[in-house]
Symmetry: C2
Subunit: 233 residues, 2 copies
């Protein structure tokens, strides 16, 4: 449970064992605890303990508990962006395993992000929009090489896929119960059944499109909204 790392150089004086500035330690501890127990389940005292400082110091640096929360949002958003651009810079087009690996490596960020998406807020909305744009770009590449099929509406599909992934992550506790391995905490090789089911979902249709449409058309209860679908030209 200790967030003491010993590598960073800052403040050369050998006064303390950990040379990481307190404000950074606080941020780190807060993000970890918030991600683990939710925003309403963590007190300043716990954060202070985890960071090895006193409670008032948190207020000294961040003004209030709400201020700390905002700082966490910002920090996570920045760190996320940084990690992403770094990985993009060094990676081949879109290695999916690498993505999982990266996600697990930054699981404290991921866990925080999930909570934050649930809670909402301008910082996270903006981040989500950026994620959508990124996805669109990746998916365009995938479509270009024939890995992904075209969609009637690319953006909507990207949003759906993103939301579906995030939702699955949010419910990772149930995933763990059902598949016997955690998406966030287990090594990928334990997740094979889960991944297999996902791949099937994304590579094979689930419903028979014609029959589905047929059933829908034959049983449209709302009186006025029973438009026929001449959408496909």
């Amino acid at each position: 449970m200790d967030y003491r790392y010993g590598g960073s150089r800052r403040g050369v004086t050998a006064v303390t064992a950990e040379d990481v500035p307190a404000s950074e330690r606080i941020l780190h501890a807060a993000i970890g605890l918030y991600g683990e127990h939710g925003f309403d389940g963590v007190t300043l005292k716990q954060i202070a303990e985890q960071a090895g400082v006193s409670t008032p110091l948190i207020l000294h640096h961040f003004g209030s508990k709400a201020g700390l929360r905002v700082a966490c949002d910002r920090h996570v958003a920045e760190e996320f962006q940084r990690t992403k651009t770094e990985s993009v810079r060094q990676a081949t087009p879109i290695p999916r395993n690498r993505f999982v690996e990266l996600m697990q490596q930054n699981r404290h960020l991921v866990k925080y992000l999930l909570r934050a998406f649930l809670a909402g807020g301008p910082e996270m909305d903006e981040l989500f929009d950026r994620l959508v744009e990124d996805s669109l770009r990746y998916m365009a590449e995938a479509e270009a090489i024939g890995l992904m099929y075209p969609s009637r509406n690319r953006r909507d599909r990207a949003v759906i896929l993103l939301l579906s992934s995030f939702g699955m992550l949010l419910l990772h506790e149930q995933v763990r119960r059902q598949f016997g391995a955690s998406i966030i905490d287990d090594p990928p090789e334990n997740l094979l059944p889960y991944v297999a089911a996902l791949i099937e979902l994304y590579t094979q249709p689930v419903f028979n499109a014609e029959l589905y449409e047929q059933l829908m058309n034959q049983a449209t209860p709302p009186s006025t909204s029973a438009e026929e679908r001449g959408t496909h030209d």
Copy 2:
């Protein structure tokens, strides 16, 4: 939609039409508030106000706040089961629109359920397992009439589909931002773009299966990952 039955003044002669017992009113208020604001965001005082009773009465009936929580879980699980069996008894095989309608009609239950799934707990785990079994039965019917394609592992697919749906519901705030309509609060006709994207996801493959497998097989080495981009073999 307030849960304030009866008059502001209790004790006065029958201001209320229906004479709902206080313990039920408390349960109802608690479920509504928990669903709306989360388990950590609601106080006994708020619940008592909403139910039109005093705070200690809640303790009198449910022992403690935790006891109330358990009672809520149980009540929701039962009500859910009841609604489901009722709808099954009277419905044709599986009208999807009717399902959405039913969900919106019981949105306070749904909102509570989502929170509860996130929080976990034995009651909800059990309920989830039951949902999986139900889904399996429905999907077997759908498969029998050719609406659904067979799966390599039916149970895993059912779990994935359930989790995906719940996850989407959990993130309905983001869905609303992206599609302009709330899954839970908007009438179905406002959700057409969202539903269209969902239908596409479930009726058309997203990835090219062969190419995907091919890419996976060619880039599986876990340690020797510094591959150049010589994609064509």
